[in-house]
């Protein structure tokens, strides 16, 4: 016996034509209409991204250069992390469709099992996105540099650790001869922050309390520069692969002591990866998608509780699970497109 709605409705009241024109329930049809309108929103966002990217051309960042890190393992793994996120979302979509299938067999235990798996997958995805955002906001170890000729370049290489700061001019807290080591503060972080603020000049760092210190730091290895904005000498698309030259150009910029010459990470005003709009699109598109995933997880939890309480079993059909399933698959569908157009192409 096919599933009836919990309350039998006289067909004359509901549809003038005696039957549902699409052989689909009202709820499912409305979910589809909502998904089409939501798909138009995401379509609009991705097309706006395409418009901006086409108008910026070569200055636009390249996915595999920007997203090449893994938690705990560092750099040099292009796209692996986003691929993992994609895989997590696909798997959670599979567990959702299995929950729907179990619902069609009126297998309550099966529905609960697969829905819980889906919820866990959803949380994993949201967590991964949080890491991705944090990484994007904090940026790389080198940042983006603006060189003397006005050209801007992103930097690749191995960062040499900062070993210590030795004070030679006293400030409010530190005395001459004090040596600040990794036990006192996060030296790499302090160093990058000082560079961004223009407080590093000729290998001398000015600390927060006004004291000045010599920097003892290992050399950066395997430096490469990729020019992203035209300048007097270097042009967009130039790739400086000579490690010594790249290191020289980088060190010169870092030690110039000018605020804004080196940009680390991203915010809504500037970012180290490319044009300003790149950061804004990243935050808005992945943020809007992440918001959808998060609300999807919440809706899944609510429906899962309903399943556990036996609400839908009593009703005689698991259509509610099907409807949330539609929404959840849609979230996966959007990510497939975001993955391609934001990270791959």
């Amino acid at each position: 016996m096919a599933g009836h709605a919990s309350k039998q409705i006289d067909s004359k009241t509901l549809w003038g034509g005696q039957m549902s024109p699409f052989s689909t329930s009202y709820g499912k049809l409305m979910m589809w209409f909502f998904l089409v309108s939501d798909a138009l929103t995401f379509g609009g966002l991705l097309i706006a991204y395409g418009y901006t990217r086409h108008s910026c051309q070569d200055a636009w960042p390249i996915g595999e250069e920007t997203f090449n890190s893994l938690p705990f393992l560092g750099h040099g793994y292009p796209l692996i992390y986003v691929a993992l996120m994609t895989f997590i979302l696909i798997v959670s979509s599979v567990t959702m469709v299995l929950a729907v299938e179990a619902g069609h067999r009126m297998d309550k235990k099966g529905v609960v099992k697969w829905m819980i798996a889906t919820i866990i997958g959803g949380f994993f995805f949201v967590g991964s996105q949080a890491w991705e955002w944090s990484h994007f906001i904090h940026g790389s170890e080198f940042g983006k540099i603006e060189m003397e000729d006005g050209s801007m370049a992103i930097v690749k290489g191995h960062f040499g650790e900062v070993e210590n700061f030795t004070i030679f001019e006293a400030g409010a807290h530190h005395k001459v001869g004090d040596q600040i080591t990794a036990e006192d503060m996060d030296l790499n972080h302090e160093y990058r922050h000082a560079i961004a603020e223009g407080h590093v000049e000729n290998n001398v760092i000015t600390l927060h309390d006004g004291s000045k210190a010599n920097i003892s730091k290992k050399d950066n290895d395997h430096m490469e520069l990729m020019v992203k904005t035209d300048g007097g000498k270097y042009k967009i698309g130039d790739h400086i692969e000579d490690h010594d030259l790249a290191a020289e150009l980088y060190n010169k910029t870092v030690n110039a002591g000018v605020k804004g010459n080196v940009i680390f990470g991203a915010n809504l005003e500037q970012n180290e990866y490319g044009p300003q709009q790149y950061g804004q699109f990243f935050f808005f598109i992945t943020g809007f998608h992440g918001f959808h995933v998060f609300s999807g997880v919440i809706i899944n939890i609510i429906i899962c509780l309903g399943v556990i309480r036996g609400v839908y079993h009593k009703r005689g059909h698991y259509e509610m699970v099907e409807k949330t399933g539609l929404y959840w698959h849609f979230v996966d569908l959007v990510w497939v497109f975001v993955f391609t157009f934001f990270y791959l192409v």
């Binding site: 709605a5 409705i9 689909t24 418009y51 086409h54 069609h104 569908l333």
Partner: protein, 122 residues
């Protein structure tokens, strides 16, 4: 109790154990396919540099693979393939016509704006 004045929702909303087995098999097949496509995409993205000779081919293969993935998600996972033809077309056709139009117009405009800026300055 069979009443013909009552609407039957989702005519295929229930299925038996045997049918379920078939459906689950299909689901796992699609899962494997989606995973393989994703792995191929990442491998191509990681090893073929943008701007190299093979890049235009890779770029278009990304777009084709994406549409393939999307097609399987919509048809199998979202069960649109099991719905009536009328419903499928109501959902897909207006969307595709509008989106194709928007893509065409926005990307042409974007390229033109970019060229104007690089020729005449911002």
């Amino acid at each position: 109790m069979l009443r013909d004045d009552v609407i039957e929702y989702s005519l295929d909303a229930h299925h038996s154990e045997e049918q379920g087995k078939k459906i689950r098999k299909k689901i796992w097949q699609v899962t494997a396919l989606l995973t393989v496509i994703t792995i191929v995409e990442v491998a191509l993205g990681a090893y073929i540099k943008q701007g190299s000779g093979a890049w235009p081919f890779v770029k278009w293969s990304f777009i084709i693979m994406t549409l393939l993935k999307a097609g399987y998600i919509v048809q199998v996972f979202m069960h649109l393939g099991d719905e009536r033809k009328a419903m499928r077309y109501v959902i897909l056709i207006p969307y595709f016509i509008f989106i194709c139009y928007l893509i065409f117009i926005a990307l042409y405009e974007g390229t033109a704006v970019g060229e104007a800026v690089s020729t005449y300055g911002a």
